[in-house]
Amino acid sequence: MAGIDIDGITKNFGRTEVLRRVDLDIRAGEFMTLVGPSGCGKSTLLRIVAGLELQSSGSVRIADTPVDSLRPRDRDLAMVFQSYALYPHLTVGENIAVPLRMRRLKGHQRWPYLGAFMPGARGIERAIAAEVEAVAAMLDIGHLLARKPGQLSGGQRQRVALGRAMVRHPKAFLMDEPLSNLDAKLRVHMRAEIAQLHRRLGTTFIYVTHDQAEAMTMSDRIAVMMDGAVLQVASPDTVYNDPTDIRVAEFIGSPKINVLPAIVRPDGGLAVEDSVIPVEAAAPPGDPVKLAFRPEHALLADPAQAALRGRIAHVENLGSDILVHVRVGESGQPPLVVRTAPNGHRHEIGEKIGIDLSSRPPLLFGRDGKRIGVGAARRREVAHG
């Protein structure tokens, strides 16, 4: 168990800059998720930590020791690959044993057929077999040890890959989109299992995914990456409710956060479409800003009393919730989505409706996409007034 410090990592592939001065401190025993759209550099960062890729500049420290000059073998990390990367010609048991055999047996003891007769080999092999069985039992794949990976289902292969990573008790686990090859149902199940595994092992996990739901459900902290940079590092709750950048707000959460362009008025309020939202933006008057709120942080209301008004464009009934799409104003804005509980009321398409934002302060983002403060003092009064 060890903390991992990523310090000013840059990576260029030819002329393209894949990572730009990434700093990230991962605490010992933490479940850290790197999340972002494909091509944001998260996998490259993971491979640099693993030692599979060499950074252009910057440094990685594991347990306060710089590892930049170490081969992957000497960094004492384990990795679970998206494709599992099991050796197809070896049985499940042999696959799990590889990391141990490579480290504990000497070259001549690994000779095919003859190796086992070399002095000392037998004892080591026996110890390895016992450890492999223990790990397999823990992952519930003990009965599969003699099979080849080709005979296993996706979920079983996933476990074997986990087993191969766990058997060595590494300082940290690196996981590169380990669930993306599984079907949706199994993915949800494995999420829970991996999270439990982390709790049981207590080891540092670095988990890479493009799926924000995976990031939200499993992590201690999330690092949201975009265009080769880390935008925000925080707990799932903070990233969701308190994003520091519009891109983070838009990436995290499903359905997506609602965003409306607005202009700051001289009195600090916001002009949105044809209405005025009475909040106090910490930005100079006349500045274009973005107003954002999550679907569950708004309420449908009487159009006469609400901050925003529009017509219902589409209704999605999810059973537990209903998503009401409201088109506001005449401009080509995508409809705003409001999540409501099913309360027996039927929403008609084309119906005039208002959106009430008073239950929770909306998020404001400046011209550069960074978060701006919102004063709440007058908001309540005016909204209800």
Partner: protein, 277 residues
């Protein structure tokens, strides 16, 4: 990559590969070098790569005049092109039927194709020779071409390729009122160009270089294919005139080698098909 190759390894790699390359290229280099030399410089007791006195014109003129080399090359072109064209003409319709049409006996026919795939061409040379003798077409273009116009490998290859063509494409053609014959040539042929190119290279290279069968059936000088031609040239000039002989060898291998150097990837693909056969 994780394995960071050291400079030492890079040097070792190139050293070994260059050593192998030297062995591979030696005959080509020596052939071209000799084809440039006058005979006084060919018969030396030491290695001389580049002649003091160039005899390019003499040697290559001799190669073209002492034997009808140009005629041999033309024969090669006529034979390989005819073989390939006829192979396509026969194989493509059959491959289409085997992959896309439903008819009784389809499985059996395909089984026969697979069995015929096992027959090495050398193994049927005796009866084919007798047959051609019987019908009197030995020592003719027909004798060079006819045995190869049925390419079961071509049928097999095109059938495998056609299996990957979506049925919708064919149904759309049928809706447009194109007959099954029309579909073969107007729909399937254009889609099959990549596979046909590979097969074409495979076929042309194989028959341009073929020696065994032409050797058996051809006697007349005017029908010699390039390999036979260059062999005959050697027999006439045995041991005396290496300059023109090497010039002739250079000329015979030149068309394919130049084509190969210009379209390496396609050629390698095409030749690698031999492995499937």
């Amino acid at each position: 990559m994780s394995a960071r190759p050291t400079l030492g390894f890079a040097i070792l790699r190139h050293a070994l590969l260059l050593l192998g390359a030297a062995f591979m290229l030696a005959p080509f280099v020596w052939m071209i070098s000799t084809s440039l030399k006058p005979s006084t410089e060919i018969f030396l007791d030491h290695v001389r790569l580049w002649p003091d006195q160039l005899a390019v014109v003499e040697n290559y003129t001799a190669a073209f005049t002492k034997a009808p080399l140009l005629w041999f090359l033309l024969n090669g072109v006529i034979v390989t092109i005819s073989i390939f064209a006829l192979q396509v003409l026969v194989a493509l319709p059959c491959a289409y039927a085997l992959s896309k049409l439903r008819f009784k006996g389809k499985q059996a026919l395909f089984a026969v194709v697979l069995l015929c795939l096992l027959i090495p061409p050398h193994a049927i040379s005796v009866p084919l020779f007798l047959l051609f003798h019987q019908i009197g077409i030995l020592d003719s273009y027909a004798a060079l071409v006819v045995p190869f116009i049925i390419s079961v490998f071509g049928i097999f290859l095109m059938r495998q390729f056609f299996m990957t063509v979506p049925d919708d494409l064919i149904d759309a053609a049928r809706m447009d009122g194109i007959s099954e014959f029309g579909i073969v040539w107007r729909v399937m042929l254009p889609t099959a160009i990549p596979a046909l190119t590979a097969f074409g290279i495979f076929s042309v290279v194989a028959h341009w270089n073929d020696y065994f069968w032409p050797l058996i059936v051809i006697n007349s000088e005017h029908l010699l294919t390039p390999p036979l031609g260059v062999a005959a040239f050697r027999n006439q000039e045995a041991g005396t005139d290496f300059g023109p002989l090497m010039a002739a060898a250079t000329i015979v291998i030149a068309p394919l080698v130049i084509a190969f150097l210009m379209a390496q990837r396609r050629f390698i693909e095409g030749i690698a098909l031999t492995g499937m056969k």
